[in-house]
């Protein structure tokens, strides 16, 4: 028994940690504050929803809290990993994520909600594989690009194989459909390609191609097209397609400078759909005003800069690329989410990391943070 534990520990690389430091508080403190804000927000946006749906006002809060605890365990575990240990995660993560993506189509396991086959029901747990895929893909790409090294400069050696990896995954996601996650993995791919040393002109061309695909996809489904266009002037269709965005604006505007106060927001009272998930930032803006909204943005910025600093100082290619991927996974998704809420880009189904209610997303975000913390503990990072 003891030998088995020792083996596991050595496999994860715990004992390489001779010269390792404590986790970077500039990374986990902002995340902890965001998680706390998220808890408060989830509590007060789901109070009535819980009463209405389950009879328990704290139903959603308890679920959220349980997931944060689960996420915390994952985060602490991952933060103890050595670089070798993290690298050993690449294969299992990739395999599991692809299996899960395919399992969605297994009758009895796949769960269809709102016309999207996006969830997996495993016993009492409901998992959203797309969240898992995003994390796994960061690991996979970091590993793949770091092995390619200098060859990344050549289109056929670097970018093309990357597209062959991401392409099928993106197609699987699109088929669910999960347009938001598809866009998100494309963004991560491009950021990591750039960090791995791909030529800018290749990136530009590929970006243009991806944009064409995106537009094509948008035209393919009328509701996507509506989403694309309504954000430009949601008031025109304030009762229809623009309803959510208009209610989001109303929430933000009602918040003003300092907000209406914690719990005093009204828009969550069934006016603003998805106020506890994708549009939680609007409720933050309503209850804490622009001060609260800017604070949230600042916290994500701290994570962003701290994560990029690790990537910058890390001499190991895998570690550096992994740091870039994980950081973008957290901060870019946050940025996209907030841009949607304030009506700068079309609506997508992307949660706000650390704040939004959502099981897999919160665990995965904390896992990503854990891996980032592990990288930050390495002696190379000063």
């Amino acid at each position: 028994m003891r030998s088995a534990a020792t083996y596991l520990k050595s496999w994860f690389g715990r004992f390489e940690a001779v010269g390792y430091r404590r986790p970077d508080p500039w990374l986990w403190l902002p995340a902890a504050v965001l998680l706390l804000v998220g808890l408060l927000m989830v509590l007060n946006t789901t109070y009535f929803l819980g009463l209405e749906k389950t009879g328990d006002a704290f139903h959603f809060f308890k679920q959220h809290l349980a997931r944060i605890i689960a996420g915390a365990i994952v985060m602490v575990l991952l933060s103890q990993f050595s670089l070798t240990g993290l690298r050993r995660l690449v294969v299992p993560l990739t395999v599991i994520s692809i299996v899960m993506l395919l399992m969605v189509y297994v009758p009895g396991l796949g769960l269809v909600r709102g016309g999207a086959r996006r969830w997996l029901k495993l016993g009492p747990m409901v998992i959203e594989p797309s969240e898992f895929v995003k994390l796994a893909l960061v690991f996979l790409l970091a590993d793949f690009f770091s092995r390619r090294g200098e060859r990344m400069r050549f289109f056929s050696q670097g970018m093309l194989p990357a597209f062959f990896i991401v392409g099928p995954i993106a197609l699987l996601l699109l088929k669910q459909p999960d347009f938001g996650s598809t866009v998100m993995i494309s963004v991560i791919l491009f950021v990591m390609l750039y960090a791995a040393g791909a030529e800018l002109k290749h990136l530009g061309m590929a970006g243009a191609g991806a944009l064409c695909l995106l537009v094509f996809q948008a035209f393919a489904k009328s509701y996507r097209m509506r989403r694309m266009t309504t954000f430009l002037d949601p008031w025109v269709v304030a009762r229809g397609a623009g309803f959510q965005l208009v209610q989001s604006f109303i929430a933000l505007g009602a918040g003003g400078g300092w907000g209406v106060g914690l719990g005093a927001g009204r828009q969550k009272m069934f006016y603003l759909p998805q106020s506890h998930t994708d549009f939680i930032f609007a409720v933050v803006g309503e209850e804490f005003g622009i001060a609260g909204a800017v604070t949230v943005i600042a916290l994500f910025c701290v994570i962003l800069f701290r994560g990029m600093r690790i990537a910058h100082e890390e001499p190991d290619a895998f570690a550096s690329l992994l740091a870039v991927g994980l950081t973008s996974l957290l901060s870019l998704q946050a940025l996209i989410n907030m841009a949607v809420v304030i009506g700068m880009i079309p609506t997508k189904g992307l949660p706000l990391p650390f704040l939004s209610y959502g099981g897999t997303a919160i665990v995965m975000a904390m896992g990503a943070l854990g891996a980032l913390l592990a990288l930050g503990r390495r002696p190379a990072v000063r």
Partner: protein, 617 residues
């Protein structure tokens, strides 16, 4: 990255700081919704305070699709009870138009009683279906005075934009009294201010605002008289209007054919609307104020007053009638081919001699004639508070120059003298002519509303008589004209014997508005009875009574009725008879006795031949 963050910050600043006020208000409005309860519209009473229009509950069927557990089944059942099959379409239409969730869809309006009972009884089988009770306009006597009362309908887009106090689906007066007195009749909708969530579910009632019913309007119309008038006009197309010559009150106003104002209540069916619009008899037209017709021989009253006042005509002026005169190379007939011989003013009016008035008109000239016609209210809008009144036409040389860029030909004066040619007047204008002869030259603005009653029963607004104009007409002139008009009804050779009443001296003048033949010339039409109806002439009668102390002045037009004495006189007779049953003639007042009754009787030149009294032209 910095750029993106800067953009986000700017956007946040714009949304949260710059739009703060506006959004806060929107957030409040989001939450609070006024569930409106329309106020019952004010009632309409006749002059003796009998209701003509009231407000009764009507039942509309509504469905909230979200409340139905099995929508298709509910729809199927509902359709079977209502006997229609477009419920699903209506829901689809409403959804297409952006119906918010939980907003009911109107399935059918104004359900009849069996359907109300069916829906009530099967309420449990019809989840989501409800009966909405709304106050609906009810016209107690159907088509009675429809053109005057008007109708209500759903507020239009244009009205909604112009008048902020209205909401979608509100009732608004569209026509007639309902439209003109809308601000009084409407009242103020009350309602419940409720807090709702985004999907429209009611969370709690914040406050209740009681509705204020509309104020009632008391008309000058007398229900009995109006009914008598409608009855007398039954089966005829035309118009009748009765005025009180002492103040301009409208006592009765009929335009036939009429429409049923109930048809318009809250959403006229397009089929009904098309039927009304395409009806060749134009039931929507209020002929009393919108129909313009040549006045025919009733215009001879204008000739007489103008001639007498201008001095070109005296009581003793006599002309010779040989059945027609030659003028400008053409013959102008008298309606009586054999002529009236030498005839004086009194008999010319009584027997309606055309040739006599050709001469009168010629001596006056068109412009003096037009001046007097205008003074007597012809060719001018009366100012009655109804929409789309027509002014008609009183031609003059200036008018013709302007209209046709041509000079006036003297021969045209002849046609005008007998109320033909370019002349066109409304029945209301001729009623005013009768009114002015009756009261001695005062033209009142015709009013059909006596007062607006406030909710406590007091008078919120009274409508005192409005004198439009007073024309100085000498007592002698009035006497001559009144005596002649009395003999039109009562004297030998008079053309309106059918209007006579026992014990009351009715004064009248017949007229026939010719519609066939060239304007400006008179083509003999002896074979009238054989003509198809649509080519027959319009029949006029203007009258007032009693002669000594007039209480009522009437103008009646029967379209294609032929001769005024034959078609219009019996109608006026019936109306007058009813009027004096209701309002027995007042005893003569001293000044009237002095003024009118004690004057020596005017010598009449009685002629031995007695014409067919009714066949005048």
């Amino acid at each position: 990255m910095v750029t993106v963050l800067a953009l986000v910050s700017v956007r946040l600043y714009y949304l949260q700081v710059m739009q703060h006020q506006e959004m806060t208000e929107l957030a409040d409005r989001n939450r609070i919704r006024l569930l409106r309860v329309p106020a019952p519209r004010g009632l309409v009473f006749d002059r003796r305070h009998r209701p003509l229009v009231d407000t009764q509950p009507t039942f509309d069927a509504e469905i909230v699709p979200e409340d139905s557990t099995n929508l298709s089944e509910t729809i199927e059942r509902l359709e079977s009870y209502l006997g229609e099959d477009h419920v699903a379409d209506k829901i689809a239409d409403a959804d297409e138009e952006g119906r918010p969730p939980y907003e009911p869809v109107l399935v059918e309006e104004r359900l009849d009683w069996p359907k109300v009972v069916a829906l009530e009884a099967h309420q449990l089988d019809l989840p989501g279906v409800s009966l909405e009770i709304t106050p609906g306009r009810h016209y107690l006597y159907g088509k009675l005075a429809a053109h005057l009362l008007g109708y209500v309908g759903e507020v239009s887009r244009e009205d909604l934009i112009k008048q902020t106090a209205y909401h979608m689906g509100d009732e608004i007066g569209k026509f007639g009294l309902e439209r003109g007195w809308e601000p009084f009749l409407r009242g103020q909708a009350g309602g419940e201010e409720v807090e709702v969530d985004a999907v429209g579910r009611r969370l709690r009632v914040l406050k209740e605002i009681p509705d204020t019913p509309g104020e009632s309007v008391v008309l000058t119309i007398d229900l009995d008289l109006q009914q008598a008038a409608e009855q007398a006009m039954e089966g005829k197309n035309g118009a009748l209007v009765a005025l009180d010559p002492n103040n301009g009150d409208v006592l009765a106003m009929v335009s036939h054919p009429a429409f049923d104002p109930d048809v318009f209540g809250a959403g006229v069916k397009s089929a009904d609307w098309r039927t009304l619009m395409s009806d060749p008899n134009h039931p929507l037209q209020n002929r009393v104020i919108q129909g313009t017709y040549p006045p025919g021989s009733t215009f001879k009253i204008v000739d007489s007053i103008a001639g007498l006042q201008e001095g070109s005509l005296t009581e003793d002026t006599a002309y010779s009638c040989a059945g027609g005169i030659w003028f400008g190379g053409r013959e102008y007939h008298c309606w009586r081919k054999q002529g009236h011989g030498t005839i004086g003013l009194h008999n010319a009016i009584v027997r309606s001699c055309d040739v006599y008035f050709y001469d009168v008109g010629q001596h006056l000239g068109i412009d003096k004639l037009a001046h007097w016609a205008n003074l007597l209210g012809l060719g001018l809008k009366t100012g009655i508070a109804l929409d789309n009144e027509k002014s008609g036409v009183i031609p003059s040389s200036a008018w013709k120059q302007k209209r046709y860029h041509e000079r006036w030909y003297p021969a045209e004066t002849l046609s005008v003298s007998i109320g033909q040619g370019y002349v066109a007047v409304t029945p209301l204008q001729l009623a005013q002519l009768a009114e002015m002869v009756a009261n001695g030259g005062t033209r009142y603005q015709p009013q059909f509303v006596k007062e607006v009653e406030s909710l406590d029963g007091g008078v919120a607004k009274a409508y005192p008589p409005v004198v439009e104009q007073h024309v100085d007409i000498s007592p002698e002139t009035l006497q001559i004209v009144r005596d002649a008009m009395a003999d039109v009804v009562n004297g030998p050779g008079g053309t309106a014997h059918k209007a006579a009443l026992p014990g009351i001296t009715v004064c009248a003048k017949t007229g026939t508005a010719q519609i066939v033949g060239n304007k400006g010339s008179l083509v003999a039409g002896e074979d009238e009875d054989k003509m198809p109806e649509k080519y027959r002439d319009h029949a006029w009668l203007i009258a007032f009574a009693p002669k000594e102390h007039p209480q009522i002045a009437i103008a009646c037009l029967v379209e294609h009725g032929g001769h005024g004495g034959a078609a219009a006189a019996p109608v006026v007779h019936d109306v007058m008879q009813r009027f004096f049953q209701l309002y027995p003639p007042a005893p003569q007042t001293p000044e009237l006795t002095e003024d009118r009754a004690n004057r020596p009787a005017i010598a009449r030149v009685l002629e031995d031949d007695t014409a067919d009294e009714t066949a005048e032209r």
